[in-house]
């Protein structure tokens, strides 16, 4: 893979040039005590002081609310305004962790499963992902258990790794990444060949993925196993909403008088209403069944049907969960039980 070097000064310059050019820049910023992705207007807003952001980067391609089309009723005639593809901005997404970058492949497999979701794919096409390798990890990280690693290039267009001097080793992963480098070629230096491995966080493997993939289906009918796991789960949407690979959405009409819009917004299999039928019947009646769905979807249905594991080991769900439903621990217990 081709490598370049971005000095700390040219890194700042690159950011300023991106902002003043045709792109909008989305990057991790401090939001009070948290770090989350925001559109930024100056390089000073960016922080590097985070393990992972609270929310994943997915909202760049799959926003939490998105107007699909608008409608207006005029004298019994209904007029529709279609989705405006021109409104999708060209975005550079900076500071994405390797796990998050890998999450887009999972999302894409769902949004392009039987028919292509053009809104999602256009958003992603217009996004350039500049990842940032992880020098630190915490107790919730487990990327190495799901075939990722703290310096994984997959899913990124460029991957930066910070050297002890404060410069950035720049790996050019895709065509898109190469184009961006070409656009700002004067900022990139020849790579000095510094070793990347020693700069990366150490993330121990928590479980053996193949073991889980081989065993999880046989656990499906073990109601006691799932209900014991989910005993403390409160049935909210926190885990799904912060997850880089969770793709479930709800479709809502919001109308005011004669005008309105159809909106797609995030939904979660953890919520009891998710599967409630109009008849009143709910095929997933308890939290055990809902929790089973969460794990089966990621570790059985997606590998079977889409050839991808629906989890990149970012640990966000565990950090966001009000009752610490540590997913890696629960997955491990599938092998142990």
């Amino acid at each position: 893979m081709e490598r370049k070097l971005l000095t700390k000064d040219s890194y700042k310059l690159l950011i300023s040039k991106i902002i003043s050019g045709k792109y909008q820049l989305v990057a991790p910023v401090k939001v009070d005590a948290l770090v989350d992705f925001r559109r930024i207007k100056s390089a000073d807003e960016i922080t590097e002081d985070y393990i992972v952001t609270v929310s994943s980067a997915k909202s760049v391609a799959f926003p939490r609310n998105e107007k699909l089309f608008g409608f207006e009723k005029n004298n019994k005639k209904l007029e529709q305004t279609d989705f405006d593809f021109d409104s999708i901005p060209h975005t550079v997404l900076l500071g994405v962790r390797p796990c998050d970058a890998m999450g887009f492949a999972s999302l894409t497999s769902i949004f392009c499963w039987d028919s292509v979701d053009k809104i999602y794919t256009t958003r992603l096409e217009r996004t350039i992902i500049i990842g940032m390798s992880c020098a630190k990890a915490d107790a919730s990280c487990f990327c190495t258990s799901v075939k990722g690693n703290p310096g994984n290039t997959a899913g990124n267009d460029l991957l930066l790794t910070k050297t002890p001097d404060g410069d950035y080793i720049t790996e050019i992963v895709t065509e898109k990444g190469a184009k961006l480098v070409a656009e700002f070629y004067e900022l990139f230096r020849e790579d000095k060949g510094a070793e990347k491995e020693p700069l990366l966080a150490n993330v121990p493997e928590v479980f053996e993925l193949d073991g889980i993939l081989a065993k999880i289906n046989s656990k499906f009918d073990d109601e006691v196993f799932w209900s014991e796991q989910a005993m403390r789960c409160l049935g909210c949407g926190a885990c799904a909403y912060v997850c880089p690979t969770c793709a479930c959405f709800d479709i809502q009409d919001e109308s005011h008088g004669k005008t309105g819009q159809r909106v797609r917004c995030w939904d979660s299999c953890g919520l009891s209403l998710f599967t409630l039928h109009t008849s009143g019947h709910n095929p997933r009646q308890n939290q055990g069944q809902r929790w089973r769905q969460r794990l089966m979807h990621k570790f059985s249905y997606m590998p079977d049907r889409l050839n991808t594991v629906g989890c990149v080991g970012c640990g966000r769900c565990s950090r966001a969960c009000p009752v610490d439903m540590n997913i890696a621990e629960h997955l491990k217990s599938i092998i142990d039980n």
């Binding site: 948290l34 609270v54 107790a139 209403l273």
Partner: protein, 267 residues
């Protein structure tokens, strides 16, 4: 082995209890709720300052209601919620054992709602210094500043409902946000819809919020939404002398009419 482990081990061994709802050490050493059924697992249980989560909500959960002999390890928030839930007829005396702690950290069994009420009466009911300071800061703001403050906070809400799920007082099987004929509260998490959701939540908790702060502690985006329900709780106290979680016989402030009620808040 500390006294919580000893006590629960005895309860499980003797068969007095078949399930203990308590706390254990979770990821990175932080406390999380745990359910212990076997005496040999009692060693998992902990009780220290890190155990500040309000876990009273588990008491009315169907899976747990079905268990006949259960005990709950109750911190002060949980105790107050038990009193409030009892006053709202959501839980019933004798359905569970309550293990609480004296100020010296001694484990005690509170055998009736009356005993819980008495114990609760000895606890501090005010807000912590940080919350007091933030409330004062907000109250000193002009209307525009205050609007700006909350608009910024509401813009962050992803409507994951972790706040609702973790509040023991939010027990409605169908929440107003889920009623769609007609749709009271917008489902998408835009700022205006979020504002409606949080104002609705605060009003539904009027006189019922026991000021445990669990809703905000559960919020992944750190919204200080507990301040909204706190404000209404303080108003309930100021105008109606009603402090939630202190009396099993109390009638809910918004569900009761008294001729001596003040009306000077209506402007």
């Amino acid at each position: 082995m500390n006294n919580i482990q000893q006590k629960t081990k005895e309860l499980l061994e003797s068969g007095a209890c078949t399930l203990i709802i308590g706390y254990e050490k979770g990821t990175g050493g932080k406390a999380r709720p745990v359910f212990v059924r076997k005496a040999e697992h009692a060693a998992k249980l902990i009780f220290d300052e890190s155990c500040d989560q309000n876990i009273a909500g588990y008491l009315y959960r169907q899976e747990i209601k079905n268990e006949s002999k259960k005990a709950i390890v109750a911190n002060n928030h949980t105790l107050k919620s038990i009193v409030e839930l009892a006053s709202e007829n959501q839980i019933h005396e004798g359905d569970f054992m309550v293990l609480a702690f004296t100020a010296e950290g001694e484990i005690i069994e509170l055998k009736s709602f009356e005993e819980i009420e008495k114990h609760v009466a000895t606890l501090y009911h005010g807000l912590n210094d940080e919350d007091k300071a933030t409330m004062q800061k907000i109250e000193a703001m002009t209307m525009e500043e205050r609007w700006g403050f909350w608009e910024n906070e509401f813009s962050k809400c992803i409507k994951c409902y972790a706040c609702r799920a973790s509040c023991p007082m939010c027990y409605c099987p169908t929440c107003t946000v889920e009623i769609n004929q007609p749709q009271w509260i917008p489902v998408p998490s835009h700022t205006l819809g979020n504002l409606e959701w949080h104002v609705m939540r605060a009003m539904h908790l009027a006189g019922r919020c026991i000021t445990c702060g669990q809703c905000a502690k559960s919020c992944p985006l750190d919204l200080p939404i507990h301040l909204l329900t706190y404000k209404v709780a303080l108003d309930s106290e100021q105008y109606f002398d009603s402090v939630a979680g202190t009396s099993v016989c109390a009638n809910n402030v918004l569900a009761t009419f008294k001729t001596e009620d003040h009306e000077n808040f209506i402007r």
